[in-house]
Symmetry: C2
């Protein structure tokens, strides 16, 4: 994405390294950082969409990764499609979701899909990678372009309380057996974004038991101000914007770690 820092020489493209470990990493994020478990996220979506008319039948997830959320929605009877910038991630999604699910390799704000959906979602804080108003507006316009009138857009992002919580020299690490990783967070002095360095050690089948492959990724996560989101949403053709506290019915507040946003396409 435009706002991401250039990886130093020798750093892989974002998500190449993370893709093979992503499912376990996401489980760890749920258990350690308070992200809502995926089945509960899907329950929230199903319940939220149940009150809508016409009914939500088909859903596109942008930044779908390895397809963990799409799997939950498929289990609940939705017709699902996915889009992601990482071929490595989509490879895992293909294995998980089977040969029939449409999976599109593309980088936001581009959504090269020639149909309209009842709903679009983004989960796992993908939109925190948007570097500001221009990026966000282009993405919102693309989403509006693939939603039918009255369609639903739901996404989650890290709230300011979460970003501030990882400020300074915060380090997180875990050894999960054949996967170990270290997250180092450094907030920009401006407070506008947080740079997360992800160092991964992964044991590959067939290698000696004590031999691990090391990779490093730099992730820049932007703080997205709620007022900016509301304004850009309105300018991009959305109405009924609301922000929930981490996939619950309650509204987001100052201590909200994960914001769940719901828009309706006008």
């Amino acid at each position: 994405m435009k706002g991401q820092p250039c990886p130093p020489e020798g750093f892989p493209d974002l998500y190449d390294a993370i893709a093979d470990a992503y499912d376990r990493l996401d489980d760890w994020i749920v258990s350690e950082w308070g992200e809502k478990p995926r089945p509960e996220r899907a329950d929230f979506l199903q319940k939220y969409w149940a009150s809508r008319f016409p009914a939500v039948r088909n859903v596109l997830e942008i930044c779908c990764g390895t397809g963990l959320m799409l799997e939950q929605l498929a289990l609940r009877g939705f017709e699902v499609s996915g889009l992601d910038r990482s071929a490595a991630m989509l490879g895992h999604a293909r294995e998980r979701l089977g040969p029939e699910v449409p999976l599109v390799l593309a980088e936001l704000p581009s959504i090269p899909v020639s149909r309209q959906f009842d709903a679009v979602i983004s989960s796992g804080a993908a939109l925190n990678y948007m570097s500001g108003e221009d990026d966000l507006a282009a993405t919102f316009r693309s989403v509006a372009g693939v939603l039918r009138p009255g369609g639903s857009f739901v996404f989650d992002i890290l709230g300011r309380a979460m970003m501030d919580g990882h400020a300074g020299s915060d380090v997180w690490a875990a050894d999960l057996g054949d996967l170990a990783f270290i997250w180092e967070f450094e907030n920009a002095p401006s407070g506008d974004y947080c740079d997360a360095t992800y160092t991964q050690f992964l044991h590959r089948e067939g290698n000696p038991a004590d031999s691990y492959e090391k990779t490093i990724e730099l992730h820049r996560l932007y703080v997205l101000d709620p007022e900016l989101i509301r304004r850009v949403a309105r300018d991009s053709g959305f109405i009924d914007t609301a922000v929930h506290d981490n996939y619950t019915d309650g509204p987001a507040h100052d201590a909200t770690l994960y914001e769940t946003w719901t828009f309706t396409r006008a």
Copy 2:
């Protein structure tokens, strides 16, 4: 040592894995955990010993590791000897200190040395591995046995404030390039000791750039009560026991992270 937990199958003996990374690890401990830099520890010892008569000329370090402290003392003109339980550690000490320095492979409380020294030291919290009164008393008696009358014993240990600070699910980690590690601390419910799991990823020269060797060590660190130390010291033939705050002239207090103990052999 007797009080150490049996390593589970597949875990190496203590210090085998850590030896090749120890110098950089110790630098990190100094910078991140507030351990006194080695030159300042040596300055403290030199100044403390300067007031003694007869002068301190020769020094034995028990648990000398890779010889980092002995190097500092040798630079200041002391005649140094070392003892350690790890052949891997002593191999590095031999490289650092040259062929003439006596280095003894032995495990405390055994100090199989047939001479007496002006001073014995232990640094880097080695004595926190003593599991209680019996271990400690046997070690103190061995030290007294290799000290001349009036000789000096100086050692540092982690204070209770330091042990309590790593309580519960505390995790520390760093990626230093060709070395990365994760420390996971878990305090015993009794408060008597802390289990530290050290997971190390080390790149070896000649291996592919992204290939790292993973090893894990379990270290059990015991809290040593000051009253216990004083009593065992007295019973083992020491006088003038004092405890300083981390190699300074000030006395240890409730917030002291590193206690520096000074004894005199009666």
